[in-house]
Symmetry: C2
Subunit: 493 residues, 2 copies
């Protein structure tokens, strides 16, 4: 497989045809394949290893903050979906239905879960008797299905996708808000510290909330092609699910109260954002924090130097592995060094060590960064520290490039022409005062397929909802009416 | 929740009503709940933590032996299932079918995967071009659905269950056998070293193989009620899937050859076997290797000693946690020590430390084993080593009891009356010479619902299939005809 993909290489460029380029990187770096049914993909070892890295980073954070993992059935009876009216309206058009079991027609259709609030909430009701049972925090790692008729884009748009969904119940609204922000903080941390992707945080406009939610908060990441990716969402569900499913508890005075719930999720779309943010025309680029292989050692030998070079390379590989660095010694006979360089570049290995007879004789190594091919020569001694420093540098380069892209691409606009022109010309985010009327968003959306992806908040965090940031100028950027909220328009994935 | 279950306690006994007792332990130790749809369960935090422990133990072993994790779609088009005739015959009666997506009828029904050979094999065909691409080893952790109309028994019989399924392709039959035994060895290791359950290994009779397999190998565990549990299976699929799905490769001479494939799986039935093997009339019993909480510290105080006792207990908890022991300091005010003792017993915590003012003054701790309540007093100094020793002892006690049960319950029989009488009286395994005719198994099965669960092999392992052990006596224990194989009859889960 790698042979062929290698011979082909990436043929499209990121700047000219980002869609085709993305599809090529996914396939040629062996991350995923298209399944025979439209809308489904097969996640290959290299792609799944990235997902395992994300799972590990999040799961550790969840467990350290009071969340337990659980598993609920993948099917939800239709009557359960119908108990929360916004949920049924929101998801019914895109549910896959199981109607037959074995050779029998089922009496009630079963939805393949599009999200699990409707099957989890009744159990929360059952498990929550006293205020001492709260907060209740559970999470599951699973896949969900949403039958959307769109073109397949691996990790971004698929009918089945992998995610985690957290569900919590609290005695009061303050507790629910604290939960919402804790999870949004953790998503931000994983995007920034693990995936090297800076994000903006805020709330979705009212008309774009999760079905049944009081407030949907989001982290948004800006892709190099100027589109925003909704990176993860954290919902304050208020009391709507608790009321629909009778999640009540006895308070300290033994009075019955209705609970407050939240839910929050991050999907494998994070892998899509990761690929799109850092990769280039040579293929995949991964920050060392998430790369399944952090260091590839490529020995360069002639017949008479092979033994020495390999022995020296092996010692270095062992020392790095011992120190917990994910290293691969590429000692394949049938491939030449140039081929190996290209292959490790295509596969997104952050750091390459080139070791020839000179390096072996002089007690040195040559280090090459991905993606900018910056080279350095360093002493064999202290190799672990040296490699760790270089991995940090590679991470910083990637983060800084993404940060610069974000900083350069938040622009203000104060008229519909200005909003349309700015997004049309530059992409990115356009920050504008907004009156709060959905019609103003529609007016933009109809012309340029950009929408309000986020509204920044101030005084958020802790136990409060925060307030949407007020604009300097109080005229809506679309209709010119009085505006007291800031909104960010962008095209989005 | 715990309050109520605690007040109720386990009311049935393991010896009198094992089925009801099992259901009570599962619910009252908070492992799982019944879902609203028959045949489905909700896995609660304590149950899921056990599954995570099993996953971790197996996944580490798989990765250390060349297996990569992947994820394939949960749906399989009907036409794919039909490509391997044994698969469609074997699974068709128990497939859940998705027939509608959103508001549309699908053109082709999609099976919710009962197992994934039929969707994985075509990709293996695609990924396997040259002998250099082999062996190919992939695994996925997921749930599968088999629509069987049976009473729900959590972890043992559910329509949806969690498992891992490994799938590999090899250049020759020897490679496939080596794979089959590697995985069976790993299953045996996890049962014995992690779950403290000794197993017997062997092959399933021809008529009871996995659909499409050449040979199905199994590890079988004997439950205290005398029934056998099929603990995990490892299948040599020969060339049947490779032929049905064109998994071919160019050998060293560039000639096209057909590959050999295997598949192997372990499900959450392992949790069922774990509960059934060790637990007792006080509730759950878990070996320390898998227990989410290994040590519960219960401080015992009066008003005037509370501060000292708690401080002393906290120091010990910190020291144990620091050493990587999973410890919980139960400092709840609203519960008395007796209540806590019962609760930790119900929940299967292997070791309890009781710490009162005497222990705090004398620099000692009292240790109590689960399940036999053996008590010991030890010095505070060296507490980490002491606790580790006691945890090992608890593990050994559990393993030895299970081993003794197994050793005592393999009996020989040489006539149908003898087979029926022995199983009827004692349960367990009955070892008998067998002619190989399925009719002989049927004759027993009709009368007592026992079947041939396993045939032991000799010279298995390495790259060979091994041979079924020959009996000392060459007359079939059922029909009296010539017999050259040993078979183990048992009732089974």
């Amino acid at each position: 497989m790698s042979d062929e993909s290698q011979e082909l290489g990436i043929t499209e460029t990121k700047s000219h045809k980002p869609g085709e380029w993305y599809a090529e990187v996914v396939q040629k770096a062996d991350l995923a394949d298209y399944a025979p049914m439209g809308g489904f993909i097969v996640t290959k070892p290299r792609g799944y290893a990235i997902w395992e890295g994300i799972q590990d980073a999040l799961d550790t954070r969840f467990k350290a903050t009071g969340v337990d993992n659980v598993y609920f059935p993948m099917f939800i009876p239709e009557s359960f979906l119908e108990r929360e009216k916004d949920v049924v309206e929101g998801f019914d058009p895109e549910v896959a239905w199981v109607t037959q079991g074995g050779h029998e027609e089922l009496e009630e259709r079963l939805a393949v879960r599009p999200t699990s609030e409707s099957i989890i909430a009744p159990f929360m009701a059952d498990w929550t008797r006293s205020h001492r049972d709260l907060p209740l925090r559970i999470n599951q790692w699973c896949s969900v299905v949403r039958w959307e008729a769109t073109e397949t884009k691996p990790f971004f748009r698929t009918k089945e996708f992998m995610w985690q969904e957290g569900h919590t119940a609290h005695t009061d609204d303050e507790g629910a808000w604290e939960e919402v922000w804790t999870r949004l903080d953790q998503y931000e941390e994983v995007y920034e510290d693990v995936l090297a992707i800076p994000v903006l945080r805020g709330k979705k406009p009212e008309h774009d909330k999760f079905p049944g939610a009081d407030t949907t908060t989001t982290v948004e990441a800006l892709m190099p092609d100027g589109k925003s990716v909704q990176g993860a969402t954290s919902h304050n569900l208020g009391q709507s699910f608790a009321e629909a499913f009778d999640i009540t508890f006895a308070d300290e005075d033994e009075d019955e109260q209705t609970a407050y719930t939240t839910s929050w999720g991050l999907s494998w779309r994070a892998i899509g954002a990761l690929i799109m943010t850092h990769s280039d025309d040579q293929g995949l680029v991964l920050p060392p924090t998430i790369a399944p292989t952090q260091v590839a050692i490529v020995p360069i030998w002639q017949a008479d130097t092979k033994e020495d070079v390999l022995e020296y390379s092996q010692e270095i590989a062992d020392e790095l592995e011992e120190a917990g660095i994910r290293v691969e010694l590429d000692d394949r006979d049938e491939r030449n060094p140039g081929f190996k360089f290209n292959e490790h570049e295509l596969n997104g290995v952050p750091l390459r060590l080139e070791i020839g007879p000179n390096e072996a004789d002089d007690g040195e190594v040559t280090l090459v960064h991905r993606p900018d091919s910056e080279k350095a020569v360093a002493d064999r001694e202290g190799i672990v520290d040296t490699v760790e420093d270089h991995l940090d540098t590679v991470f910083d380069k990637l983060y800084e490039a993404a940060e610069e892209n974000l900083a350069e691409n938040v622009r203000e606009a104060h008229s519909p022409e200005d909003i349309l022109g700015t997004i049309g010309k530059h992409g990115g985010y356009v920050k504008t005062p907004w009156c709060g009327d959905q019609a103003c968003e529609e007016a933009i959306k109809e012309k340029i397929a950009a929408e309000i992806v986020m509204q920044p908040l101030e005084d958020e965090g802790g136990q409060s909802a925060g307030e949407v940031v007020e604009p300097d100028d109080d005229e809506c950027g679309v209709c010119g009416e009085s505006a007291d909220e800031v909104a960010y328009f962008a095209k989005s994935y």
